[in-house]
Each structure stands twice: as structure tokens, then as C-alpha cells.
Amino acid sequence: MESKGCIWKSNKINDTLWAKPVFVDSLDLSSRNGVSDWSITADLTLFYVQNGDIRTARIQNDGIVRGEKITGLKDFKTRHVGVSPGGDYLICDGFIEGINNAWVDNFISFRKAENSWTYPVHLDSTINTKTAGNYFPRISPNGEVFFFSRQDSTNRSDIYWISTKVLEKYKNEL
């Protein structure tokens, strides 16, 4: 969680009670710092979007170890990132001239090495419809659901979801 840009952590006590949040780090994950979104893996690696680029940081006992901009995405710019709990793939929204359907769409990228990722691949028309923007990707922390938002020409947005099993074919095509 974050509070006024800083990162705080709360442990679950039971189904209805959360422990008092503990300050983690002053890394500013707000728009003041050019950050538009962030996700987290099961091993507490943050993936955050700063000025269109995806960067990483690792939460440890005594705060955060700041990482660097991930490589492989070249000139691809995004606003939102959803990372898998294992950190082996991520979905980000963006626009590539000649590929998108005139709206922002969701793309997938796979980790090749520690900080090196594949160039984003445009998800097919079941996800990226021609008549709407498809954005704000999220992978559930258990890895089984891909959520995203879809916004139509009237500026209304809704939340859609689908099994992450549909994403496996993109890895097989690498």
C-alpha cells in the first residue's frame, strides 16, 4: 500500500483485521514523482511506471533497494503495469503506431534475464477490441486471473477479467 506517495506495509491478522501499517520507504509512487502505477511480485519486487518507463525496486527488511529501468522495451511507453506473482511476465498498456486499434491496448512482455525483458507483444482481439481502449492490466496475486479495464467511446469504463491461461500461448510463440 502507499500513503501520500510513500510505501507502507500491513500484515493481515485475520479475515477482518489488518495490523497497523508499518512505514517501508519514502520512494514516492505518486504522480508528483511521475509515477502512474505500480505492481508487486510475491517476493516483494515492485514494478512501477515512472514517466512511461518501467522500473523495479525490491522491498527488504530495512527498506527498499532501488533498481533500474528494465531493458528490452526500447521506446515503448506505458502508464500501467501488472506483473505476475512470479515476476516472469508483465502486462502493460500502451500504443504502437500501426499495431494498435487507435486506442490504448494491452501488451505482454516476458522476462529473459534478471533485468532484461522481451519487446511487448500486442494481445489479440479477444483482449484488445477495436472499438474500445483496453488498459490498466492487473494479474491477481495468485496468478490465475488477468483483469483489465475497457473504456468505450462514451468515456465509460468497466472491469473485465479472464483466466491467465489465455496468456500462455504468447510464451509458447517466443
Partner: protein
């Protein structure tokens, strides 16, 4: 051995009861779409009169957080609510306003 109509009815009732117990409780009782994306929790989370985005769920799928935007007739946002619902062990709670003193923005979850 001859099976009576009563025994058959009993068997059907038992099977039906077992099926009821395997229905999903996660994700607001919704079944994950396997092939084609669908509106999430239509009529509960996704409703016609508002916009929704920024969803976050817990690892066990038993709590859902999202943001609802109210728009005027020109499509401009004129109100925002941060909402959540959770399974209380028996049923899903109705949508509740998120505690902003606890969560400034939509939280992210890892292992419960």
C-alpha cells in the same frame, strides 16, 4: 437390488447438494472466464450507470477492491468512490467504502 423412486430422488438431492458446495465463493461468486473476457461481477462491480477501474484482489480471492467513477452527462468525472467487498465466511458483504485512513489508494496484495 431394486432402486425405488425415493432412493433416486435422495441421490439427486445429495448430488445437487455436493454441487452447491463446489460453487465458487471466490471473486464475488463469479466463475473465471476461460476463453473470452467478460465483465467482472456484472451488476455488482460493473454497472451501467458508472465507470469502474483500478481493481485489486487478495491472494485467496476473498476480498475485492476497486474504484468507481461517477460521470456527468458530458462524460466528465464528478465523483470517485473507493469500494471493497469481502467474503465474511458465510457470504460476501455489500460494497463498502474503503477506509482512507488505512488505504490512501488501492492496496496491492501478496500472500495472505
Amino acid at each position: 437390488m431394486k432402486t425405488t423412486s425415493f432412493e433416486l430422488l435422495l441421490l439427486v438431492l445429495v448430488l445437487f447438494s455436493c454441487k452447491q458446495q463446489t460453487e465458487p465463493t471466490k471473486y464475488l461468486e463469479q466463475k473465471i472466464p476461460p476463453v473470452q473476457p467478460e465483465l467482472f461481477a456484472k451488476g455488482i462491480v460493473s454497472v451501467d450507470s458508472t465507470s469502474e477501474s483500478m481493481i485489486s484482489v487478495t491472494n485467496d480471492g476473498l476480498a475485492v477492491y476497486f474504484t468507481r467513477y461517477f460521470k456527468d452527462e458530458n462524460g466528465n468525472t464528478n465523483g470517485v468512490q473507493s469500494l471493497y467487498s469481502r467474503f465474511d465466511g458465510v457470504k460476501w458483504t455489500g460494497l463498502q467504502l474503503k477506509d482512507k485512513t488505512m488505504f490512501y489508494r488501492t492496496p496491492r496484495f501478496i500472500n495472505d
